[in-house]
């Protein structure tokens, strides 16, 4: 095993909540406020972890499984994803499908946990989540299919280990389209603003947030931490696509981490400047992402 392999998991575990802090800070600056400190998500997690947990009387083991499987799914997907030039902790041919599947499994358990509470309100969020993810997941697969075709490998460690700069010359339009599609999917999958607003609690517009309303204390901390890891995962995918291969693995990794922070800033700017989409327009944007990915796939065919 490469000594640099566990690095991604360590960095992600430590730094993932920071991304949420950066986005919140950028939104605050754009609104003319000073904003909470960047460490605020860590404080929130620690505060929640210290609290007691209240569970609904009707809930079963599935309610707890929802939080844990989602977190485990995100962790496993990060373990499969390389950081910079260091290969991933786990790697086998076709692991890209495994990574997307465990994310899907996590989502399934989040939905089941939401239904387990028996609240019609959470069922509504679960239904929306299921519908939108049915559109977002094929699009993600098409993006990775295009990348697999361009790089000739079917393992995340090969796909995302940094594309050779020559490819950015010959395949630039396809890579650009794939990156654009991945950015849209990043916003959708992490319930960021044009799709969903993680800060709102208005029943008509919530998608993801409504499914975790009944969680409290350590359970809610698990959910938030899982969401932070998922955001890190998607930004690291996009960063790996954008950063070309460099000679030294350490410099490549530093570039990747820098790009992850850059993508986070971009997400923050998007959130500050865009309004939420009408719920009816959400499928359209997801389909557009799928169309962009499909065009990218045709271009590398």
């Amino acid at each position: 095993m490469n000594p640099g392999s566990p690095l991604h998991l360590l960095v992600a575990l430590l730094a993932a909540p920071l991304l949420g802090g950066i986005i919140a800070r950028i939104k605050a600056i754009a609104a003319g406020r000073h904003g909470a400190p960047l460490r605020q998500p860590y404080f929130d997690l620690m505060r929640l972890a210290r609290k007691g947990e209240v569970r609904g009387k009707g809930t079963t083991i599935l309610f707890v499984a929802g939080t844990l499987v989602t977190l485990a799914g995100a962790l496993l997907a990060i373990a499969l994803t390389p950081l910079g030039r260091f290969p991933a902790l786990l790697s086998f041919p076709g692991d890209v499908i495994a990574a997307l599947s465990v994310l899907g499994l996590g989502r399934f358990f989040t939905i089941v946990a939401a239904m387990d509470t028996g609240s019609s309100f959470e069922g509504l969020g679960a239904s929306r989540e299921a519908f939108f993810s049915a559109l977002a997941e094929p699009a993600t697969f098409i993006v990775f299919a295009a990348l697999a075709r361009a790089t000739g490998t079917v393992s995340l460690s090969g796909l995302l280990a940094g594309l050779p700069p020559a490819m950015w010359h010959s395949q630039a339009p396809a890579l650009f389209l794939a990156a654009a599609a991945l950015l849209i999917l990043l916003l959708a999958e992490n319930s960021r603003i044009p799709f969903d607003d993680p800060t709102t609690h208005l029943e008509l517009t919530m998608i993801h947030e409504v499914m975790v309303l009944d969680h409290s204390g350590p359970g809610l901390a698990t959910v938030l931490y899982g969401a932070a890891l998922k955001l890190w995962l998607f930004t690291s995918w996009l960063a790996a696509l954008l950063v070309p291969k460099t000679a030294s693995p350490w410099i490549g990794t530093l570039w990747t981490v820098g790009t992850i922070l850059g993508v986070t800033v971009l997400v923050g700017i998007t959130e500050s400047t865009m309004a939420r989409l009408r719920l009816l327009r959400v499928p359209q944007l997801l389909l557009s992402a799928a169309a962009l990915a499909a065009v990218a796939f045709l271009l590398v065919l």
């Binding site: 339009p173 499928p283 359209q284 389909l287 169309a291 962009l292 499909a294 065009v295 045709l298």
Partner: protein
């Protein structure tokens, strides 16, 4: 450069399939005309003759500015209603568009045409523009979208022309452009007459017309 322009043309086709506002659709079709002119300019290179330069200037002028202007004027004269009102919803149109894109790409890949290098996107994108034009014509209610569909279709044919026959006589190309100009002009007047007579331009309701 050529590929980038072709991909932009293709993306505009997809955008036209989902757009829900008539004026934004007209602007996008205008942008497509403009890109088409740039593509022809890129093909002709720096050593284009007087005829080719004139043709490109006329293409950019008519497809990029005159047609959108005529259509926007027609739209303004109808007043109010700016929704596209599709028979086939935007989402389904986009899905259909992706299928059409696959078919066009396959056709473009299979069809060996003289003067076009193997693996060029040009034939595929041209086919896709033509098919998108057809889809817009049959899947939208408003008469103005049918004019736009016709323009997109013609853009596809023009694209074919730039790749297939770079040495078509100037005279023929000019005549085609002039025909198109007259067609759009006449359609603009027809649109105006339709809205004057019926207070809308919903072709769906023409079924109720009786003698």
């Amino acid at each position: 450069m050529m590929d980038t322009l072709l991909i932009l043309l293709l993306l505009i086709d997809l955008r036209l399939l989902v757009t829900s506002r008539l004026n934004s659709a007209i602007h996008w079709a205008g942008a497509q005309g403009l890109l088409l002119g740039l593509l022809a300019l890129n093909n002709a290179g720096l050593h284009a003759g007087f005829g080719a330069t004139l043709l490109i200037a006329l293409t950019i002028g008519s497809k990029g500015f005159v047609f959108p202007w005529l259509l926007l004027r027609a739209l303004r004269s109808t007043g109010g209603h700016r929704e596209v009102e599709p028979y086939v919803s935007a989402n389904l149109s986009l899905l259909l568009g992706m299928v059409l894109l696959g078919i066009s790409y396959w056709l473009g890949d299979r069809l060996a045409l003289p003067g076009i290098e193997k693996g060029s996107l040009l034939v595929g994108v041209a086919f896709f523009s033509i098919l998108t034009g057809f889809l817009l014509i049959i899947a939208r209610k408003k008469a103005i979208m049918q004019v736009l569909g016709f323009l997109v279709l013609e853009n596809g044919i023009y694209l074919f022309g730039t790749g297939l026959a770079p040495h078509t006589p100037l005279f023929v190309e000019l005549a085609v452009l002039l025909d198109l100009l007259v067609a759009v002009f006449v359609m603009g007047i027809t649109l105006f007459q339709i809205t004057q007579e019926f207070d809308h331009m919903d072709t769906d309701q023409f079924h109720h017309l009786k003698e």
